[in-house]
């Protein structure tokens, strides 16, 4: 028990309950075998403690993902409220507009792949490295959502309901505490700092049973660029040349964002295409 207590990282009520259950179990083992056999039958205390810590890290990471998704969505709502309350004649400066669109898309991608990972790992044995990756995806989603809101505020002038505008950042702040707590605990565990990659397409296939094709960054850039062209030309009535320029900017954004964020998001191409 002393070795188990020393090896265990988790604290609080969960720790007390786990140690109480293990103590009861060892007492039962000793009643039915001699002391040496009880320790052998129970298993190496370091390994048992590491396994329990990994399980706690995994469940905290999944819980943090739901919280981060709610936080990012609330920030999105506040951002929309900010945009709708902008002065009709307001003209967004290009750098702010670009920052808004880029960070909003990064946030959406990060939260979607985080949710896909969380659903797939629910109830399964997950390594500390996987849990750390989930925490990184959650953190990127929240930070990007807040950057998008900040950029929207910088781009536009107007008067909005302060409660509605502040709701998003407030909820995101609370979500960040949950994500930060999960991440802080996970980082203490052996193997948590290993940088791994995890294909969201493989995750989606594993729990949905659907035949989801793997899409690389180039294909995604083409799809996003096409969407930008159609949106610009069809909805906003831009000229074809202007729409194509928007599409090219969108494609460039996708590729640059992928190059910069593929490591922290666990999306390095060489691993994904091997899937």
């Amino acid at each position: 028990m002393a070795d188990l207590d020393a090896a265990l990282r988790v604290t609080g009520r969960i720790r007390r309950r786990f140690l109480a259950e293990c103590r009861d179990h060892l007492v039962d083992l000793e009643h039915h075998a001699d002391r040496g056999d009880a320790a052998v039958a129970f298993g190496p205390p370091g390994r048992v403690a590491a396994s329990f810590d990994a399980a706690v890290a995994s469940t905290r990471g999944v819980r943090a993902t739901w919280t981060a998704a709610f936080g990012a969505a609330t920030v999105g709502g506040s951002t929309l409220a900010l945009i709708w309350s902008a002065d009709a004649a307001a003209q967004a400066a290009v750098p702010w507009a670009l920052a808004f669109f880029l960070s909003a898309q990064v946030s959406a991608v990060a939260i979607v792949i985080g949710l896909i990972q969380a659903v797939g790992t629910r109830g399964h044995e997950v390594s500390p490295a996987d849990s750390a990756l989930l925490c990184r995806r959650n953190a990127i989603a929240l930070v990007s959502a807040l950057v998008a809101m900040f950029a929207a505020g910088g781009a536009l002038t107007g008067n909005g309901n302060p409660l509605v505008l502040l709701a998003g950042p407030a909820v995101a702040g609370a979500s960040a505490v949950v994500v930060g707590r999960a991440w802080w605990f996970t980082r203490q565990l052996a193997g948590a700092r290993a940088r791994i990659d995890r294909s969201p397409f493989a995750d989606l296939r594993s729990w949905s049973g659907l035949h989801v094709p793997t899409v690389g960054p180039l294909e995604l850039a083409i799809v996003m660029a096409t969407g930008a062209v159609v949106r610009d030309h069809g909805e906003q009535g831009s000229t074809l040349a202007g729409s194509v320029r928007s599409g090219a900017i969108e494609a460039a954004f996708v590729l640059v964002a992928f190059l910069v964020l593929r490591a922290p998001l666990g999306l390095r191409t060489s691993v994904i295409t091997a899937d």
């Binding site: 786990f18 129970f42 109830g123 044995e125």
Partner: protein, 108 residues
Amino acid sequence: MGSGDLLRGHLDGLLLAVLADEPGHGYELARRVATRSHGDLDVPEGSLYPALHRLEQAGFVSSRWAIADGRRRRVYRRTAAGRRRLASWHEERRSFVHAVDRVLGVAT
């Protein structure tokens, strides 16, 4: 037989299976696994608790403190979601075993 690595992917399913009959605490569940496997599955018994934590957090089992064998123990029971999870685990395991048999050239 029953090395730790081979068992690792199956422990959750084994626990859900032995909880089908009636609730039990960790030591009882370990005994049920050993009894049903006729001692062939050598599970390090401490590894049950991380698995039970995972299953509980996922909603597949629930637990409460109760008096068992004259002592206060944490007793686990399977939920309806756990029953469905066991059924899907059976299906996954069957598909996996058939696929391995085909590769090995074993008649199925």
